[in-house]
Symmetry: C2
């Protein structure tokens, strides 16, 4: 066997172990006995050490040096790109620094939860200062020798969205912000405001409906399962991709749209070509592309007029009569925009404004142009400007998200990038499947979603994210389709 085959054999085991580590996370959030937590922490840490050891093993470097990439086919070159990127990134960060980051962020998760619960920003600030300092050191190590054109933020971003740069995203997001702020103002100021759902909705009926929706969107239970968890998530690749959901007595839309969202993530993983199973190409290629699938399923398909028309009847079947008169009003209820501080509860219009705020601030933190000491003021000023209200307490502001406390810098923008991708893909999908609304109106999103499977999902990690979207859409990703779509939909619903 040649070096490439040896490397891929080794990589296959690493991928399999990565799946095991991921499933341990699923177990923890769904079925783990509560008293098992301390032991589980050691188990997860041991798995991470095994994985880190394999990814940075000198043997990998030797294979990479030996392999003649020019002699490989397209799949081989893509595999090499992934393995090389991961190897080089892991090797550049000194292991003492990596260990320190793991230790500090592991502790910080509890400290953040405590600080959020007690509104203690002052108490958490020194912790975040340490984390920002360590992440800046990590970024400096990654850009050493001129990588990422020396931009430390780009070095961190690359972990979640390979090939993307902070400057490109900045340009994209700067073009979005004024239109979103204007749309938000018009919607919230409109004289017609659609009513929301009122009353209580049977939770076992929500679970049944969510299961039916996952299948309607193409999720395979032969290679997955649906459980309840505190937070909805999707987990795993290949032949074992599991999702979770939750219920709320008063808000069945929560169960429904979280399930459709996670089905988008899971369908992506399930639809990757089987040839890529347990190879670097056998998982979603980036956070942005992943989010594009979940958002497109959830919003452009799931919150469309056509689909909610069908869903209205399912709601009446599952929950009996409720306070919404007709399908038109139900469409409005599923798309309601309301003021709020919290990103994870935000509607389609305001969601990206939450992200843009975090992106700008974290980019400045990593660049060193904003100190953690000034972060709360910067957050609150920006929030007032974009959302028109003052933040009332840290848990509604700078302390609301866990991301920074666990070291995730460069992650937030992939949410909005995913929305931008989703806008472009939806436009291309409509052109390719002209009777899309007819399928949606019959409760069959899975049939038109085959276009996504064949043009995006099946490729796994074969193409870089931007190239993948451009191949599917015929042009480079841009904000137009997303914003045009939002403006058109909300003008109709709010009679602007």
């Amino acid at each position: 066997m040649g070096a490439y085959e040896d490397l891929m054999g080794y990589e296959r085991q690493t991928q399999a172990l990565g799946q095991v580590a991921g499933r341990l996370g699923w177990d923890q959030e769904t079925v783990m006995p509560r008293g098992a937590a301390p032991q589980r922490a050691e188990e997860s840490q041991a798995m991470e050490q095994v994985l880190h050891g394999r990814r940075t093993h000198p043997r990998v470097g030797a294979w990479l040096a030996q392999i003649n990439e020019g002699a490989l086919d397209k799949v081989g070159r893509a595999n090499m790109r992934h393995i090389r990127r991961r190897y080089e990134r892991s090797r550049r960060v000194p292991s003492a620094l990596a260990g320190e980051i793991a230790r500090v962020t592991s502790e910080a998760q509890g400290q953040w939860a405590e600080a959020r619960a007690t509104e203690d920003w002052a108490g958490f600030r020194p912790v975040l200062e340490t984390i920002v300092r360590l992440k800046r050191e990590e970024a400096a190590a990654l850009v050493a020798g001129g990588a990422y054109d020396g931009d430390p933020y780009d070095a961190l971003l690359d972990d979640y969205e390979p090939g993307a740069t902070g400057a490109d995203l900045q340009a994209m997001f700067d073009a979005m912000r004024p239109r979103l702020v204007a749309l938000r103002d018009r919607v919230l100021g409109a004289s017609h405001q659609p009513a929301g759902l009122e009353g209580r909705f049977d939770e076992s009926a929500q679970i049944r409906l969510a299961g039916e929706l996952a299948i309607a969107f193409g999720y395979s239970l032969a290679h997955g399962r649906i459980d309840k968890a505190v937070h909805p998530f999707s987990s795993g690749s290949g032949l074992d991709v599991r999702i979770t959901m939750r219920t709320s007595k008063t808000d069945p839309f929560n169960a429904v749209y979280a399930t459709i969202h996670e089905t988008g993530h899971a369908a992506y993983e399930q639809n990757i070509a089987r040839d890529h199973l347990l190879t670097p190409l056998g998982a979603g290629v980036s956070m942005g592309v992943h989010e594009s699938q979940s958002r497109l399923y959830e919003n452009q398909l799931g919150r469309s007029r056509a689909f909610t028309g069908w869903l209205f009847d399912r709601f009446r079947e599952h929950f009996g009569e409720f306070d919404i008169a007709d399908a038109e009003a139900f469409w409005g209820a599923a798309n309601r925009v309301y003021p709020g501080y919290i990103r994870t509860e935000a509607d389609e219009v305001q969601y990206n404004l939450h992200i843009l705020l975090r992106f700008d601030l974290e980019r400045q933190l990593i660049a060193g142009t904003l100190d953690v000491a000034d972060l709360e003021e910067a957050w609150n000023t920006r929030f007032a400007a974009d959302f028109g209200v003052a933040v009332d307490k840290p848990s509604n502001g700078v302390l609301q998200d866990v991301h920074w406390s666990v070291g995730l810098f460069g992650y937030f923008p992939t949410y909005s990038l995913g929305n931008v991708y989703a806008g472009c893909l939806h436009q291309a999908m409509r052109a390719a499947v002209p009777d899309l609304d007819a399928f949606l109106g019959q409760g069959d999103p899975a049939t038109p979603a085959r276009w996504l499977r064949d043009n995006v999902q099946v490729h796994g990690g074969l193409y870089e994210p931007a190239e993948l979207i451009e191949r599917a859409c015929g042009s480079a990703p841009h904000v137009g389709p997303l914003l045009d779509g939002l403006e058109a939909k909300f003008a109709e619903i709010y009679r602007l």
Copy 2:
């Protein structure tokens, strides 16, 4: 840090990874999507390779050579004993042979299931011949240099029951067999035959009852959970010990006694001193001692007159009226002896006869005094002698158990050894807790079971199995208490 601390730090991670591998098995039998099987096989294999690599790593050998065992305390010496035994056993078997055994037995599992389903002993025979040949090679490698006094069967047995020898077990079992055969004949020939349960029993009530029984026997749901599975089992050590159960519409005793049995295994793991968590001492010390706990909980406690008296009322609460008139008749129903070919369905009287048959045959297979070609005839001849009936088909005889096809030689005798230990422990427990029956009659086996916790379970792997039982009982394990107990109980029930 010294070499001992280094070794123990490394070992702690290995133990944590072993728990992860075990939990993967739990997942597979309870919640895994059916289409995930091929990927899961690769995941499990990758975990096994990681574990094998760690256990045989030259670093372990270097640490073992460096450590001055005389300077260690009792716990330290016990840890060394476990690590050294595992290391030396793993190193003595050439990795090509270990790999070949893994490959052949992995395939053989499916071949065995197929052969059993089609009654195709002739088709499976060559597969078993290969496995016996490979296991004999493995045993020969293990005894090289005079280990295990050169006895290949002892070398295999040591994996499941450290310190036990085939000759000792032979003497023990030879003393049991005539008394068991005689008891079996008297019981099946008795004029009084207790009636069994008739009718159908609600399965969700069985699940509720089984959960209550697990807790009554001391199982902690803070560190465990109960799920349904095809086969009942217990899985995991330390803070995460899970059990499974199954239901049968017509036989609620199946759910009840399988759950009590698995609770015995799980309580053992849960009650090991927390100091031993994720060390070699943090798991049950041998298969025989493990089985002693599960059998004692199931039989000596769970099938006692006192406990079934309490259980009779619980049955009526959970299932309403059924066809058994009083507690006395219920005791008889829970202890019914009936002719049958299948070990896993056997009653307390006949179970050990099934084991003794297998033990004698597998000992001859490994010694080379019996060929696989002659195995079916040997099985059937022995079965007719001990059970008084002729085997009608291979699935009721030589093909009924999976053990040999997955390479488990030396495992079977631990079932009967566990029963012998259980007899001794039960006798000592009755002496130490004179009002045992009063607790059982109130449905509280957990309180008297504290004696087992304090005298057996808490120690984990601190003592060798025989020493552990001797310390708890005050004398070396012997067959008397088990057989005396069986003869007394069945004489009462069957009015002999």
